[in-house]
Symmetry: C2
DNA sequence: ATTATAAGCTAACGAATGTTAGCTGTCAAG
DNA sequence: CTTGACAGCTAACATTCGTTAGCTTATAAT
């Protein structure tokens, strides 16, 4: 069901937009990548802009689904209680590492992120989406998590918002650092591990 | 000496490239911004690409000068000894805030950063420059600073590399957060202040 | 006074761009 | 068997692109 031309066009267009930006990509480029001639594209989308818009809609829908499935709305983190209550430092690192490598290696995630990065100053929708995804929601998720840690006694009390910033920002920086530079990955993962370790040591409750 | 057409072209071209990217900008756009006709551009630069290259060279030269003047080569931070030895938390925040607002508001710095951000996946030189400027050199500077703090007894001992990451990453994240979103600046400055405060408290030597 | 250079202009070019028109073949529904 | 929709194709279009040629004018040097 995935091989129909209409979705292939979106995939290939995204691959191109993610590197060269909207203006840097020709409808001929897209057609060539798909394996058809440029005019045939218009059997599926009414314009180049239409292809771009379809990618954005698809992106927003996928993200909405992801947010729902991750329960990142910040309302009821109780669901993940079992996941985090008996968590060790090593476990936490493995979780963070998983997310880190996902955002660095998942084909679709990487392309979308790069397209947003490239187009953020031309297209406010891209800018909004990027900030929501990589700053607002990411911080909210961490904040909610730390609130829960504090509430459940795993962490000492503190400002969960600041904890979120201080925990997430290095992860974000290291991700930007490795983006398009796979040779930096090994070192960054070491930093990441040490960061998680230090953070755990700093805030974990020593009273118990 | 600054008002000659040749540099005005660079300025206006940069302003456009920083928003729409290389392919999104027309030589006519540039000419219109300068106040001349498109063919007249070719009296000063031999092609559109040539204009872009000239911007890059100018950027690299400016940055080299800045690095030299800031003594950010990581070799001998002894010079700044007097600046930092008797520093208070409030002083440190004011310094960080100054740099933070400079990178957010200085016209030239903002445009260059955005141009690098937009073009990093097409042009490796842009990517290199961005990573050097906003990651490598920034971290190196912080690392050197913290090494000096530790050496001089202001800070407790610790891994200066990790300290650099954990100190700088939130600053970087908050800058990205405020980029093109001035309404977020007030809140981010508050976070920044609290971050500097907590960092100072965490690492400042309590033995003295 | 003459000349040379620099920097603007208009006109124009070839190439590339997004898009439309209209033809052809495939294939499932009637 | 016929039909109609779908999805590809070629040809072509108007527009826009980066760029060149060649003219004019002002300024500075000889």
């Amino acid at each position: 069901m995935k091989g129909d031309t209409k979705t292939i066009i979106l995939d290939e267009a995204l691959s191109l937009f993610a590197v060269k930006g909207y203006d840097g990509v020709t409808v001929q480029d897209i057609a060539r990548a798909v394996g058809i001639k440029a005019p045939s594209l218009y059997k599926h989308y009414k314009s180049k802009q239409d292809i771009f818009d379809a990618i954005l809609i698809e992106t927003e829908n996928r993200y909405k689904k992801q947010v729902l499935s991750m329960n990142m709305n910040g309302s009821e983190p109780e669901k993940d209680k079992d996941l985090f209550l008996g968590i060790t430092e090593e476990d936490l690192y493995e979780k963070v590492k998983g997310l880190f490598l996902y955002y660095l290696h998942d084909e679709y995630a990487v392309k979308i992120r790069r397209m947003m990065t490239i187009g953020q100053y031309q297209n406010e929708r891209l800018s909004d989406l990027y900030k929501k995804q990589y700053i607002d929601d990411a911080l909210l998720y961490q904040k909610t998590l730390f609130q829960f840690f504090i509430y459940s006694g795993v962490f000492e009390s503190g400002d969960p918002q600041m904890m979120a910033i201080q925990f997430y920002a290095p992860i974000y920086l290291l991700m930007i650092n490795c983006d398009n530079r796979s040779e930096r990955e090994k070192e960054s993962l070491a930093f990441l591990k040490e960061h998680v370790r230090q953070f755990g040591q700093l805030y974990s409750n020593k009273e118990k």
